[in-house]
Amino acid sequence: MRSQSEYGFFYQPKIMSGVAAMENIPVELDGFNARHPFVITSKEISSSGLAKKFVKALYDSNTIIGALYDDVPAYAGIGLIRELAQFLRDRGCDSIIAIGTGSVVDAAKGINIIVSTGKDVLEFEGNNAVLGHLKPFVVVPTATIAPYDLTGCAAIEGKEIISDYLFPDIIAIDTRMIRGCCSDSMRATALVSLTQALEAFLSPQSNHLTDAYASMALRIIAEHIVKAVKRPRNKKTCLAMANAATVSAAAFHNQLPGPVHSLGMALSKLTGHLPGLCMGALLPAALKLRSKKKEPFRSDLLLAVGGADRYAESAENDRANKGEAALMNLISSIPGIPQGLSSLKVPRHTAEEAIALAAKKEPALKKQDLEEIISMAL
């Protein structure tokens, strides 16, 4: 074990998961002295009837929804965020609820910064520029969970804002909301969670708490990922994958992003593919690079991915190798996982652009490693 005993760890949200989780939102908001939330979501979620389910879940409570804005597009620009912040102020709302993923959650975080600090959101670009508590913020995830949804990061206008204060205060993972629409979205969500958990687990900066969260996420993912992708409308596996996403986000937020995550996000930005698919295409290459460089895998990886029985029956010296093999097996068993970047039709020049983008964003990453991962994945 290489876990460091001196570390900082932060994770804020109260997580409510399971049947009738949304019904708890009014009581929890009441704890923040908030009864007048501003709800935002996308047209897609609204038209699939999920917004109506949310409104019904708040029946028989003291919570009056200030407005349910259901027109957030897939890309939420700064203009819309500013307008929505003004809308929230005009309605006198005291909290924000985001139903959905990606741009909806990013927009909600942006609105929260504007209405809580009184300043423009773009002034807070970078790490830890938001230095105070914001308004109570609830996220109700749906089947697809984007990389930054459940963390303290927001991507607005191509700029990243990272702060501990951007975490949602409450995450309500409700069985009615998280049923997957299709295998593709479930696969993308699962691969993001797997990447976040794995890179946190294998990071040289890992500590006891990131280990605890990452290994738990890996355990849940290993158990459910194949079934979740094959049967994206299965309640039990969808709930498990949503929980894995939440737990892996906690580990991810407390570590520096790894090469696969950084490259995956950069490729997604450049090509328009879902970040999970890009990460899935790069993951085997990154693991092969690790083996090539003879960086040892942790022995407890087998416990997280292979299960307690396989861990117990393996000799101590073999556990690291068996853990690596179990991980590779798990990745290759995911139905429809992209077989390298060629299957996503990513041209070499775009991949090179992604390397430059990832290296610029995360200076701690070695450019040579990024290049090798890309060349192995192409």
């Binding site: 409510m16 399971g18 049947v19 009738a20 019904e23 708890n24 009014p26 009581v27 009441d30 409104v55 019904k56 879940a57 708040l58 029946y59 028989d60 409570s61 003291n62 919570t63 009056i64 929804i65 200030g66 407005a67 349910l68 804005y69 259901d70 307008e83 929505l84 809308f87 005009d90 309605r91």
Partner: protein, 180 residues
């Protein structure tokens, strides 16, 4: 520009039928608390451990319904109705929402499972709250047929814990006192 009129305020609706069902169940349980305290040995022991000023408000937040049960001047357990106004509540057990209450009172979740799923807020003495949950389990065993009670309690008592004679005597007497 956003047209504010397209996004009106949404006031929470009512789940009237569910409220009526939960209110009825709380009324029955309140009366049954009073009845079982007079007829069953283990219930008497549980109630004896409670303080003399014990008044329980078992309710659904935020707007009820409520079930108030407490000890009277002579130390007997009495059902005090549904209105907490003017009563000195020593133990408040609040179910977080009407759906959670429905799951409990439709016996889809036992009180133990509901507690572990964070559906209850307890304000007051914790050991007394545990006593109340024990009595609720006992009431479910006495009032409901076995197949339904099994869903609602953590462990259905074995013969050695609750003999059929005692179960049927307590069941009969509780029902008689409940209706009378």
């Amino acid at each position: 520009m956003i047209n504010y009129n397209n996004y009106p305020e949404i006031k929470p609706g009512k789940k009237l039928l569910k409220r009526i069902y939960v209110a009825t169940m709380l009324f029955v349980f309140g009366r049954a608390f009073q009845a079982v305290s007079r007829v069953d040995r283990s219930a008497k022991e549980e109630f004896a451990q409670m303080p003399d000023d014990f008044v329980l408000d078992f309710c659904v937040v935020p707007n009820g319904p409520h079930m108030i049960v407490g000890k009277d001047g002579k130390g007997r357990i009495t059902y005090l109705g549904w209105n907490p106004a003017g009563k000195k509540i020593t133990l408040a057990m609040r179910i977080k929402n009407i759906e959670a209450a429905m799951r409990m009172f439709m016996f889809l979740e036992s009180s133990c499972v509901a507690t572990s799923r964070d559906r209850l807020i307890v304000d007051g003495d914790l050991p007394t709250a545990c006593n109340v949950l024990h009595i609720m389990d006992l009431l479910e065993v006495l009032l409901l047929p076995k197949f339904a009670a099994k869903l609602g309690v953590k462990r259905y008592p074995k013969w050695s814990q609750l003999s059929p004679l005692r179960k049927w005597t307590s069941r009969l007497l509780t029902y008689v006192r409940l209706i009378a």
